[in-house]
Subunit: 236 residues, 2 copies
DNA sequence: GCCTGATTTTCAAGTCATCGTATGATTGGT
DNA sequence: ACCAATCATACGATGACTTGAAAATCAGGC
């Protein structure tokens, strides 16, 4: 295991350990002691301790004297921390985590669209429309179409005017990038322009409930795709 | 400013600084340098640095050589971090933050109820029912009624089976405790038992959409109360 | 004299090494 | 079975050195 470079030692170690923990590397075994971390990564105690402290702040670790440093159960992790979200994405694809991401989107995005309708200003709405137009213009180029799709959804979060929603942009970004993999496996399915257009039209009309429903329809369809792809991950 | 005790020095300083930052104490002025922190709080560099690193991990601070340590703009904060949420609550009441909390609840809780209906097991549903029964039994005792209300809502998050939703229990806890203040100012309004009962009945019937709608109704009513209390915080 | 660009200075965070302290699990004696 | 000594480990303190970026200074040309 090598520490990445380009950043400070502490942040490099933070990344390395964060990814290792999230990927389950330490699941069976015990987390290294302070001293072991220093030797394993040839870092000073300062670096090791500060990386551990940051991971503790994100809920991934807990440390007590004599008892050593432990990886916390997933229930304690700050899953909505952008770093943790990113580490989750960087590990091998899991249909479960993707479904859970999408369920969060199902909660957040319809309400974001609802609030965006009531509070979004002209510039907010223009950004949303720009996203939709870019989706149309680049329908044939997957990379740019994906970016446009992300821009569309993130613009709506922003237009909601609620900073808590805005926090989730990284999660939506991640979820959408993951989605490319799965939707392609199921069919030649790509983001539906008409469904997205319905959201924009409702927002422009000032129809908050309509925007809510239109966005909800998009996410429910995504969830259905996930269940088709792997029905075992959904109970009942 | 004094560091609280009973915990380690690092965590004490973390609390003190976190609260100060969130309360806006450093808004006009520049954040102390490493050396100043040591003298101001008579702490060692180790303690000061680790507290700063943890706050950095939560997005509240950023540090660069020569430039010193800066308080980041609110947009960068990890607002969904349980510590940050708590610090937000501990500062003087703000109607805006309370509305934003409730908007998050409006997003999360109806979908949690929807998922709980489809996936909750017997024990999950029993916990939800217990919460409702406790609300009824302690209708006359505000403290216990509040706790029962919290238990009811948190049980639904748990029953959703989605760990991301479960993360938000601290936020819902905070929001409900804040709500006591405001609802009492508006009227003698207390948590409506029938509205909560409607959610439970839908869940028990297996009516996921009904549970979604019933929960949404509860939250929309809360939002209306907020707007009545201070209409200036809502645009349009 | 004054702009421009390069060099040096300086300050604050980053990193390292080492020492001592506090804590709580384990071990061993009674 | 209980109590005390032991020991491993994180916690805390400190001094020295390194690195990086901003600010100040200087050099050269117009």
């Amino acid at each position: 295991m090598r520490t990445p470079q380009g950043v400070s030692l502490t942040y490099g170690l933070l990344e390395t350990l964060g990814q290792s923990i999230v990927s389950g590397f330490y699941d069976g075994r015990s987390f290294p002691t302070e001293a072991d971390l220093c030797t394993q990564f040839s870092a000073s105690r300062t670096v090791a301790r500060e990386a551990v402290k940051m991971l503790t702040a994100k809920g991934l670790l807990s440390a007590r004297p004599r008892q050593g440093t432990k990886v916390e159960p997933v229930a304690k992790w700050n899953l909505l921390d952008p770093d943790v979200t990113r580490w989750l994405m960087e590990r091998p694809f899991s249909n479960t985590i993707y479904r859970e991401f999408t369920e969060v989107r199902l909660a957040i995005e319809p309400v974001a669209a609802y609030l965006a309708t009531r509070r979004g200003d002209r510039a907010d709405i223009r950004r949303i429309r720009d996203g939709l137009n870019a989706m149309r213009d680049h329908a044939a180029e997957p990379d740019q179409a994906l970016q446009a799709d992300i821009d569309f959804h993130v613009s709506i979060l922003r237009a909601s005017g609620n900073p808590f929603f805005w926090q989730l942009r990284e999660l939506i970004n991640t979820a959408l990038r993951l989605s490319i993999g799965i939707t392609n496996k199921v069919s030649g399915h790509t983001a539906s322009i008409p469904a997205h257009e319905a959201v924009l039209i409702a927002i422009e009309k000032g129809d908050a409930d309509g925007a809510h429903a239109a966005m909800r329809a998009i996410l429910l369809e995504s969830l259905e795709l996930i269940e088709i792809y792997d029905p075992t991950t959904t109970a009942e």
